[in-house]
């Protein structure tokens, strides 16, 4: 299978969040993932898009969010970039720590890491790039994993 790549450049709006989620759901379905995995991938993309629109670009109409989907025989790779000031990963709290359990925010990155196989976050002063990777499991893989 040759790699397939689709790229979107989107405004910093809530519609972008929904569009990214829908595109992820469609891509994951076409890649052959089951319903539960499709939901997890779509949710991870939604959370990353929320971060890009809300925290990265802060709804700035002059800044864009780009979402790239790349599908290979092994992986579905989704890369989301914003044009914000870059996030400080050291300041992302552990949402499972007892003192943070009742906080009303701060669970997005945790959910993304929970739902994807690999996550790379690359902040810079010109924006944050987050790469989400889900490994494509063949029927043979699934059979092996169940044994």
């Amino acid at each position: 299978m040759t790699a397939q790549r689709v790229s979107y450049t989107l405004d910093s709006t809530l519609d972008t969040v929904n569009s990214a989620e829908e595109a992820a759901s469609q891509m994951a379905t076409e890649a052959g993932f089951g319903d539960e995995e499709v939901m997890k991938i779509a949710m991870a993309v939604r959370e990353a898009a929320v971060n890009a629109v809300l925290h990265g670009n802060a709804y700035d109409p002059g800044k864009k969010v780009t979402v790239d989907f790349e599908r290979t025989a092994q992986d579905l790779v989704i890369t989301i970039r914003d044009q914000g000031k870059g996030m400080d990963l050291a300041k992302v709290p552990d949402p499972l720590a007892p003192e943070n359990l009742l906080k009303t925010s701060g669970r997005g990155i945790f959910l993304i890491r929970s739902f994807m196989d690999e996550v790379e976050i690359n902040p810079s002063t010109t924006g944050t790039e987050i790469k989400l990777i889900k490994h494509v499991r063949t029927a043979a893989d699934a059979k092996e994993a169940s044994q």
Binding site: L14, V17, M39, M43, R46, E47, V50, L54, P95, L96, L101, L102, K103, T104, S105, R107, G108, F110, L111, S114
Partner: protein
């Protein structure tokens, strides 16, 4: 599908039947406004029926936490009813399942509120 709520009273408990998605934006705002409105009217025993909530994101989870703490801080109780598997799993992995009082039987849930 956007979020919808309707409320009913059963033995002094306000049951909020929620349906749709509780996500950043409209869904979270509707939940927040509903709880705020109930508290404003003095309804402090609130049972959120999430049986028809098919999707919730981190903002929605945050809104549930906010509703829980807001009601508790005003001397009330907020409990959750009929979680779908997706919402149940999300509350499990975020360790919130043990924070919320989660019920799966409406009659028993209503009785569980303090008199």
């Amino acid at each position: 599908m956007s979020m919808k709520t309707s409320t009913r009273q059963v033995d002094g408990v306000t049951i909020v039947d929620c349906s749709g998605r509780i996500t950043l934006g409209e869904g979270s705002v509707i939940l927040r406004d509903t709880v705020r409105d109930l508290l404003g009217k003095g309804n402090k025993k609130i049972l959120l029926n999430l049986g028809d909530v098919n999707y919730i994101d981190s903002s929605g989870i945050g809104e549930l936490v906010s509703a829980y703490t807001t009601v508790k801080n005003q001397g009330g109780e907020l409990k959750l009813l009929n979680l779908t598997k997706k919402v149940h799993d999300l509350l499990q992995i975020t360790k919130l399942y043990t924070v919320f009082d989660v019920k799966d039987d409406e009659a028993a849930a209503v009785k569980s509120f303090s008199k």
